[in-house]
């Protein structure tokens, strides 16, 4: 019997699969869905991976202040990080500054973390030609670097509200991996401003299992509500 789930829950379980067996995941400002994914993994795997939640209101993991996340990443101690963008392009460049005359908050630590974290998962719920563009108007952080530039890590995947793409570093091009149940390969093509590779038959993104939903709506929801109260109210309003 099909179970009903919220879109946020589908995205969180997809991110959890992408994180895989990382040892240390850092979650930046205003990222409740990636945070859900990490806490889901921790429920399942006896408290692994370690999570550094930048926004954590109590019991924050850092004792040196906000520069510690960047120092950790600079040393190679962060395996997975998340970035989004007002615009994301087919070269995996992200823009957090300005687009179409509109000002966005700014680049945060992206220009550093995209290089320093071993893997970055790009995540943006809105999947439209406005967001997924051929070329970003402003490069907050580049998706790739020329060989002479020291770079530990970079993008591995792009997850949106419609689909999951894998980043092909050697071809410098995204590949469509799966589409979510309420979308289709044609819908994704029509709403993506950049070109990408796709298999002839595109699989559907795996939906949350009943066990995953029990974890998400129990212990995961509780820790999310402490740190992202507005988000928790929206998703699990009861």
């Amino acid at each position: 019997m099909p179970v009903s789930y919220a879109k946020e829950e589908l995205l969180a379980v997809t991110i959890a699969r992408l994180i895989g067996d990382a040892r240390h995941v850092a979650v930046g400002a205003a990222s409740p869905i990636p945070a859900m994914a990490v806490f889901l993994l921790r429920e399942r795997n006896n408290g692994m991976p370690r999570v550094s939640l930048l926004q954590k209101r109590s019991g924050n993991p850092f004792t040196e202040g906000s520069r510690e996340l960047f120092d950790l990443a600079g040393q190679g101690r962060i395996d997975v990080f998340f970035l989004g963008g007002a615009q994301i392009d087919g070269d995996a460049n992200i823009n957090l500054v300005e687009a179409e005359g509109r000002r966005f908050p700014g680049s945060f630590g992206s220009a550093f973390m995209y290089f320093a974290a071993k893997k970055t998962i790009l995540f943006r719920e809105e999947h439209s030609p406005r967001v997924l563009v051929k070329k970003v108007e402003y490069v907050s952080a580049p998706g790739w670097s020329p060989p002479e530039v020291e770079r530990r890590g970079g993008p591995v995947a792009l997850l949106t509200g419609k689909a999951l793409f894998a980043w092909q570093k050697d071809k410098r091009c995204f590949r469509l991996e799966s589409v979510h149940p309420d979308s289709s390969a044609a819908d994704v093509r029509a709403n993506t401003g950049f070109d990408y590779d796709a298999p002839a038959a595109v699989p559907q993104t795996a939906v949350p299992t009943p066990e995953e939903l029990v974890s998400i709506r129990g212990p995961v929801a509780r820790v999310i509500a402490e740190n992202y109260p507005g988000f928790a109210k929206r998703v699990w309003a009861a």
């Binding site: 400002a29 202040g65 520069r67 510690e68 957090l96 005359g101 700014g106 550093f112 490069v139 530039v149």
Partner: protein, 278 residues
């Protein structure tokens, strides 16, 4: 660079601190999750401060949005301006889109690195990453060099940042002029790197916290602190970890009101020009 060795002065309150910060000053501010001196920010608005430059260490939030909306700000250098869960900072966003203030975009660790250079009294400090970002093209003080220890290895330099003023809020100050900020290391960095450091505090402790082995590691020593003043609940509507939390409902209300110039004016009248008991 010649930074002062202070004899901390104890002032009467937030308005006295705000009077010490001159128009045109370059102020280093912590993010909203580090205790912010919101009561002093309100006092700056009341005294009609002008032409301030704000440096977000490493990002800015409500303090900056209010100061920008009230016309106190000429320029910001920051990695972002955000109200967190309450969304975009509306007065910043409008001022940016209408080009009313100058914005220098940065990225968090470059701000920290620039301040750390000042802490050490050196003119610059290198940082990995960032190369290829448009931030590098537009930032006036960043420079790429070839690593002198390994040729063919480009690396970015942050020029030392020296704010005129550090401004933040602390859980405690003591009679000796030390302030306790706990784990909020960015506050120590701003204090160390600034020409003057003004701190509002929740409570005054008798004596000298540096005599207490448990409190001392969370302290910024008086040598860095120009003046302190009491401001109970002085971070409201933001929080002080361990004392009181963020007033999320108020932030949501602010974000809604500040969407329009008229709504923002109404907010100023209600919460800043009329003294309000938090």
């Amino acid at each position: 660079m010649n930074l002062p060795a202070n004899q901390t002065r104890h002032l009467a309150g937030p308005d006295a601190l705000a009077r010490e910060i001159p128009d045109g000053a370059c102020i280093g501010l912590p993010p909203d999750y580090s205790p912010v001196a919101m009561e002093v920010v309100r006092a700056l608005v009341r005294r009609g401060a002008k032409d301030l430059k704000l440096i977000g260490v490493p990002v800015l939030g409500l303090c900056a949005d209010i100061l920008i909306g009230a016309g106190c700000v000429r320029e910001v250098e920051t990695s972002a301006v955000t109200l967190g869960e309450a969304g975009l900072a509306p007065r910043f966003t409008e001022a940016a889109e209408k080009r009313r203030i100058k914005i220098i975009d940065a990225t968090c660790p470059m701000i920290h690195t620039g301040l750390q250079a000042t802490e050490k009294g050196v003119p610059f400090m290198p940082l990995r990453g960032v190369l290829g970002s448009d931030l590098v093209k537009h930032h006036p003080d960043w420079m790429t060099i070839d690593n002198p220890y390994a040729k063919g290895d480009p690396i970015l330099l942050a020029k030392a940042i020296v704010p005129d003023v550090a401004l933040f809020h602390a859980r405690w100050a003591d009679e000796a002029g030390n302030v306790w900020v706990g784990r909020r290391g960015e506050l120590a960095t701003i204090a160390h790197a600034s020409q003057a450091c003004y701190v509002s505090y929740e409570e005054l402790k008798p004596g000298d916290m540096l005599e207490d082995e448990l409190l001392a590691p969370g302290c910024i020593g008086a040598v860095y602190v120009t003046a302190v003043a009491p401001a109970p609940r002085g971070a409201w509507p933001l929080g002080v970890p361990g004392a009181y939390g963020i007033d999320d409902a108020h932030l949501t209300r602010y974000a809604r009101l500040a969407k329009t110039a008229e709504g923002f004016r109404q907010y100023l009248d209600e919460f800043i020009y009329k003294t309000v008991a938090a």
